[in-house]
Symmetry: C2
Subunit: 299 residues, 2 copies
């Protein structure tokens, strides 16, 4: 089993209380790939510009990410610059340069169209829909979005929600799209909008899962030294979807375990700038953190 | 085993999106008593005015709360009026009338001075210290406070922190007193200030416990319809300290279970105005919610 991820590949410039890094490899699909490639083979559907450093291509190849459907366009790679202050919960966007992303139409190789598990990471809902329409037999489709699309492409997003299985949103997005303040009510409303599994990410406060059959509440793995939270949500989604793909099922037990693995992958991500830490995670690291997480959450 | 609680007894007027209630029985020691009396006998140390309705006295007697050290002073009972909007996480204080609380010096009956478990709920740290100095053999002392005392009586509070065992604070208080933004760092700093067990309450996001030997993270019990969050933290502390008193120990296992029972007692509190719901909790209610909480948090 392998998984398709559609999303952004970016060059991120990030300032946090720990320092500043310029033009690091980033983007929703890339962070997702770090979380997911630990569990399964990841097929990247994204676009970069002709200025995209070859060392990043080499790095992704080395991580086993299939780059068949990574388009190298004629312009500049998508760039994002942001800053985190105080409690590091909210990024202040300093600049966004769309570059090749502005004309992105995902291409997907014929043999990849048969892949059943798909994650539509945060990009324009029209692009997400375009990719989904090309897949032959989607079986488990996850969707992420952001407030910008909720505000500007609400209709397209609502339509897409009816075609996917798992909706992953942060608390602000869940509230904004559902119009409900209480997160359980928000998750219920999102369920009614179409997604059979609603995963609400609450950052340092953990995750809430809502399905027809069960709910699940998980705290975040407590990290003392948060260096850079960029991509934590995407890394979480990668660990979550990656584990479900490996498990080949999405029953209550698998979903709970998948949430836990997503939580653990995200905890590594925030301990370094960009992919510094999340790209280096070993099985031993994950096993150790899983055992510790069990210990600090079970009663 | 029984427990002493020092704190406020109040008449609360509260407005929430669910409605408005006038002059309900409230206050830190009263809400604490609702959580704790489920597990153990509670001895109330507080003051009310001559206007305090007899029906509240009858109610507390009926709940088995020992009122030997409840002073009925000559003035008016402490009154608080507040309002909650939006996500109900923060109360807006509309008015505070100290009344008899302004000249409160706790009185405690001789036979109660031998009680070993004590909770110093939120009042002036000087009053908290005064009571503690009268106790013969304090064995497990819990302390709560609020930002007002952190700002205005910081020295007295820091001194008190060295004489207690368990410090219970909400996230804003933990950050403010420790000077640390990251909650684990904040808890560690509070540990260094003296409390051997630090309990950080994060409202709807649950609880973090920090001790030398272990940490523990618990989500809140998910409540869909929050009617009035007033006293949730005190009810939590009551369930927590009440269970520890019943368990007669404070090892890791007992603390984790105590946190869970505190969480569950608090979840009932927010489902009604004032004590409407928390005063009516049956063993069956608690058992059912405990089983559900295990199910939605274990993976």
């Amino acid at each position: 089993m392998s998984i398709i991820v559609l999303g952004t590949a970016a060059l991120d410039t990030v300032t946090t209380p720990s320092g500043k890094r310029r033009e690091m490899l980033g983007g929703s699909a890339i962070h997702f790939s770090m979380g997911a490639s630990f569990f399964t083979q990841v097929n990247l559907v994204a676009i970069v510009g002709s200025d995209f450093p070859k060392r990043h291509i080499d790095f992704l190849n080395k991580k086993g990410v299939n780059l068949t459907s990574l388009v190298i366009g004629g312009g500049r790679t998508f760039r994002w610059e942001g800053e985190y202050r105080g409690d590091l919960n909210t990024a202040l966007t300093l600049s966004t340069e769309l570059g090749v992303l502005s004309s992105f139409r995902p291409q997907i190789a014929e043999h990849q169209r048969r892949i059943e598990n798909i994650f539509l990471a945060n990009v324009d809902p029209d692009i997400q829909r375009h990719l989904l329409s090309k897949m032959h037999a989607p079986k488990l489709v996850g969707l992420d979005s952001m407030n910008y699309w909720i505000d500007h492409k609400r209709k397209a997003l609502l339509k897409l929600l009816k075609e996917i299985h798992i909706f992953v949103a942060n608390d602000a997005e869940a509230r904004s799209l559902s119009g409900e303040t209480n997160l359980i009510k928000a998750a219920k409303a999102l369920r009614r909008m179409g997604a059979s599994i609603v995963v609400v990410k609450k950052g340092e406060h953990g995750v809430l899962v809502y399905c027809d059959d069960f709910i699940f509440c998980s705290p975040a793995y407590p990290v003392e030294k948060i260096v850079d939270p960029t991509g934590a949500g995407d890394t979480f989604a990668g660990g979550f979807m990656g584990y479900l793909t490996k498990a080949r099922k999405a029953d209550a037990r698998s979903i709970k375990r998948a949430i836990t693995f997503g939580t653990i992958m995200a905890s590594f991500n925030v301990e370094g700038f960009g992919l510094e830490r999340s790209a280096q995670v070993s099985k031993k690291d994950v096993d150790r953190r899983l055992a510790h997480f069990k210990q600090i959450t079970s009663f």
